[in-house]
Amino acid sequence: MAKTIIRRALQTIPVLLVVVTFTFVLTRMIPGDPAVIMLGPQASPDAIETMREKMGLNEPMLQQYVNYVLGVLQGDFGYSYSYNGAVMPIILSRLPSTLMITITGLVLAILVGIPIGVESAVKQNTAFDYIFMVLALVGVSMPIFWLGLMLVLTFSVNLGWLPVMGMGNIAKGAWDVISHMILPCLCLATIPAATFARITRSSMLESINADYVKALRSRGIKESVVIWKHAFKNALPPIVTVLGIQLAGAFAGAILTETIFSWPGLGTLIVNAVNGRDYALIQGVVLFSAVVFVFVNLIVDIVYMLINPKVSYEGGAR
């Protein structure tokens, strides 16, 4: 087991190398001269030349790449001109607010989606099953930004119950922050909840019809114990896989959700960076999110191995 885990962990090294290289190449391909953008269009050619020299843009591409990789290894993600500071601290200062809504959203999705999936499987082909599976189908087909706009339209514009912009101020009490969080969290929770409901139902249907479940029932064990303790436990692996995918993909949803609700997290940061052509910042956020993705995936795979020892990682399964 330990050996497989180590082997799986070692697989991340080439992937990380590809990620760093990709980030470097992609950012270099963005049109425009970073020095010009940093100094503004009125800057003199001399000033631009000095800045290019200072930023290391005059060195050969390979040298720039090596410098970049060495910098990244030391936690140096570059300098953002629009925020006037090192990229890494900016990212870290935005990270908590993104985690706040993505984690809450995901927990909400699990708490709603999984019980609905289990109930739908238990009550297969009843009205409950049909209604929730149609809802789940609509849920997975929904564009998250449209959902966000509809939430704003309903709860802020029409009903006037909840605020739309920003994250509130903790000085005005906890409710101010919570009320600002409700809509973004609902927005982020809906689609994963629908996905959880669907995968839980299909996985539960398989385990519920297995012989050992019949055997447990015939022994007169309480139905809730049979369902939740035994059938659910065996239905878990695909649900964990989906959880991993959702966890890793949460940032994509955050980009769009934060844009709608002007939530000051990493999502708005990257959109601002792209619009302002802040190369170092774009590079930093892209690399950061990709590295987080790689590690989240690693953790999910290890958890998966622990709960389901049948899985072998000869050359990577999934």
């Binding site: 080439p14 590809v18 963005i30 509809m150 792209v274 892209v286 990709a290």
Partner: protein, 304 residues
Amino acid sequence: MAEQTTATTPEALSDAANLEMLKRERRANNAWHKLTRNKMAVVGLIIVAFMVFLAIFAPLISPYDPNSTDMSNMFAAPGQAGHLFGTDSYGRDLLSRIIYGARISIFIAIGGTIVGAIVGVLLGLVAGFFGGAIDSIIMRIMDGMMAFPFILLALILMTILGQGTQNVIIAIGVANVPNFARVVRGQVHVVKNEEYCNAERVIGASPARILFKHIFANAMSPVIVYFTLNIASAIISEAALSFLGLGVQPPTASWGAILSEGKSTLQTAPHIATISGIFILLTVLGFNLLGDGIRDVFDPKQKR
């Protein structure tokens, strides 16, 4: 593949009842009939057919020119002044824009999926068939690409390429490559050790022949399923890029562009965002239902 029927020909049977039974069996095994027996898949098929119809015949169906402005009729509510879906901030007819938007959005979604499929399928075939170092290199690159959140990768690609319909197709296509490569590679691993591939090897067929004639053909069914489901997510991707202001160029009407305009006028004219979003939702739903239906036909075991 799916069209396979019993080997006996009708001529071989003298009995009329047997002939009837054979016909029925053929129908039951026919992929199209399997698909149309699935109610959900039929609903999906109808939705998709309707949207594709809108897209193809847009100039014939649209009541107005999608780009002609009417400053005396801005923000008309649905049903007002002869505009079924109302008008937008330039007084343009929303219904006509949505019909033309179907054209752009579906075109981009299918185009992007085709680009991703062609490159991804080739890479997946090569990786799965040759294995070893080639496989490792290709798949680690794919893993690396997959580490970037899809929308982020597409966002950066749009920044590099610049706005425009063609570039949206390329961005969505490139971002889709790793998924197709993975699906195909996994399937090649299953197929390449089948008896008929070994038989080909024994009689001395070239690797290219085995790869393209046998493995390719037999690895296609999950690709078709994934292709259909991917069109659904590509429609959302197009809309997301346009929503972030990095999609098609105005005044081109795509569903995402219309929705993005609707965001800024959410308070004064909520119908713009609402209606355009409903069309996106319906179309995505349609492709999802169809994709699920096709999967059930190819792989009845995985029925949900």
